[in-house]
Amino acid sequence: MSAPTAARRRDIPQAVASRRRRGELNARLEQVFGHLILILVAITLSAPFFYVITTSLKDSGSLFHYPPQWLPIPPYLGNYQKLIFDSGFPRWMANTLFVASAVTTLKIFLDSMAGYALAKLEFRGKRVVFGLMLGLLMVPIGVLLVPLWSVARQLGILDTYWGLILPPLANPLGVFLMRQFILGLPKDLENAARLDGVSEFGIYWRIILPLLKPGLVVLAVVIFTDQYMSFIWPLVSTTSNDMQVLTVGVASLRAKGGVDFGLWSAAAVMSMVPIAIFFFALQRQFLARSLAGALKQ
């Protein structure tokens, strides 16, 4: 070893150390920077919520004060009182929760059964059915308003719970989701059961369905959320005050002259509560909801 090499070898640990330190510093800066960006984003996205919450705790008459009163102290509960006791809000919320639950429950069975058929069973016209469902997958209700209203009217289900529950059952998204999940399940139990001569329904009920539980939860999340936020079909198909769902009821607040911002804010806050709780409890499944459409990837 020549002297310069020895010197270099002595330098290396130091050089590496200082590079590592710089690396660590960079990494830490990167983290801080990342957090800053995310904090900024989070503030921008959630600022409206704080604004609405504070407005809901203020008396509407005080909104015209300058400078604006940022924090409502003491908080004014009159808006919530009015919302719960003196408006249609409880009924709207009950309607929405009922319809959303009913649709979700029905879809869980309908879609898993249909998905099972498409995944595991052979029948004539399977290609046609598959293609038809695939083609009309993305067709929204808004485009079908006129004929759908006509069909519903002829079936006599307008302005009824049936009218709110049955049409959403037609959406084939769940079927594809279930099909994808079922195709991905391990086949051993199923094959064994088949050899044992278990009926298809038995296989479905006792083997597939239990294995499908995580997929069912994702499906439930997707469908419940969509139904919770559904607006145009309930708007068009219901006319009585009693049948209004949450979205339609909140929209009706808008149609009155002379706005009551306190009441509106309270309604906005209360509208978010069930779904926010739902989300908090099932965060992972909501992440999967974002991927629900990506089932073919």
């Binding site: 008459g61 909104l63 015209f64 009217r153 068009v236 006319t239 009585s240 005050n241 009706s252 808008r254 149609a255 009155k256 002259g257 002379g258 706005v259």
Partner: protein, 477 residues
Amino acid sequence: MVDVERTTQDLTDQFRNGTISRRDFITRLLALGLSVTAAGSILAACSSAAVTAAPSVAAPTPTTGATQGGTSPVPGGAATPVTGLKGNIRFLIGPWTPDEIKHQQVIEAAFKKLNPDVNFTYKLYDWSSGSQEIADSLAQGAHDIYYTGEANYAALYSSPNTFEDLTSRINDPAFASEKAKYLYWDRIGQYGDRLFGLPICWHVEDALFVNMDMVKSAGYDETFVESWDTFVACVKKLTTSGVYGLGIGIQLGPTFGEWYQMLRSAGGSFLTKDLKAVNVNQPNVVAVTQRYIDLYNQGVVPPSGAYDYNTAPDAFVGGKMAIYSSDLTIAAILQGKKPSFTWKVLGFPPGPASRANFNDMGFYQMGSKTPDKDLAWEVLKWWTNGDSDAYWAGVSGTYPARADALDHGFAGYSTQQLADSFPMFQQIGVGQEPFKQWGDCETAAEQQAGNAWTGKSNAQDTVTNIEKAVQKLVFGA
């Protein structure tokens, strides 16, 4: 036996203290047995600031009509009210106020005093889908009595067998004296020889709500609306930093804007009197449109979208607009906000031809599939009699289609400002034209007018486009 006078006194005190609400006050007065007219008069007396002592009520005052029994007055209106009827009546009505059904029930209660065996149900339709709901209900015979706006009356006028033809009942000599007290038969008669409803109200869709304190400090009094030049001078003077002189173009949705009354004030109309040709594209119409565009350009009018139907009342009360245009129901809302200034409801200034404030009517009509038409007719008459109309129109924030409304306590149920302007609006009022596509023409016209107010199109192009739209809607070309 209830001491009516003492209880009335107590109630009045409670009302003036603010212990009970106006609605409770009315309800309890009526429950005491007072006639609708008497209750209205008491309310009017309470509202006027000059009264310091409680008004004295000697005895419940029966109105025109036979009195039946000493202490139970007849809230009458028809020449001889019918009693002892039986049956069910189903209403399909539009919600004028959130308390629409409660108001209907007050009228129902008075009717049931004479006919306790008649039962009523009410269904409210959505204003935006009302025409479909009414058509649907008529086809199925699902309801008996309908409230329709004039646009619906016109649109369904020529549909066969939908509403019951009431011509013979209305023209019956027995009804003649009562018929004389209704307003606007001439306007209803425009649609054709047959009559399908009884008028209940007429609504000014765009009236001016004026902050009189600001107007006075600008050096004008309420006559400033009577000439275009004083009007413009005044609104310009009222426009300062942070205050707009004139808020127009604020109503909810694309219908019933102010352009139609501008058209009429210029001597134009959608169609000529014989309904055979379009009558929109006139030089005066263009000139009137231009005048208002100028106001927008000079910053007197807030830009479109600055305020809307919901947010404008607060802005007016907060002094951000000195004058603003909206429909009559806003009067009650403004009153509820207790502005710190004096305000009035006035009509629009004159155009080249005349002053014209648009108002459209409301009707109660009977479905042709109603099982008991005689009962429904009695109900129709009751709901549109002096007491009922004065009460309902008053609490709903619109004008009653009765010449004798003020005698039945309208002022008490409504606001003072509306009652004061009742005769004026009757004088300068113009209505729809009698063809069924009027509503759609109005929608199209206001949408085009919107382009003028926002500077997207000039006055002549706007008027030309409206003419084309009307041509297409009515004559299909």
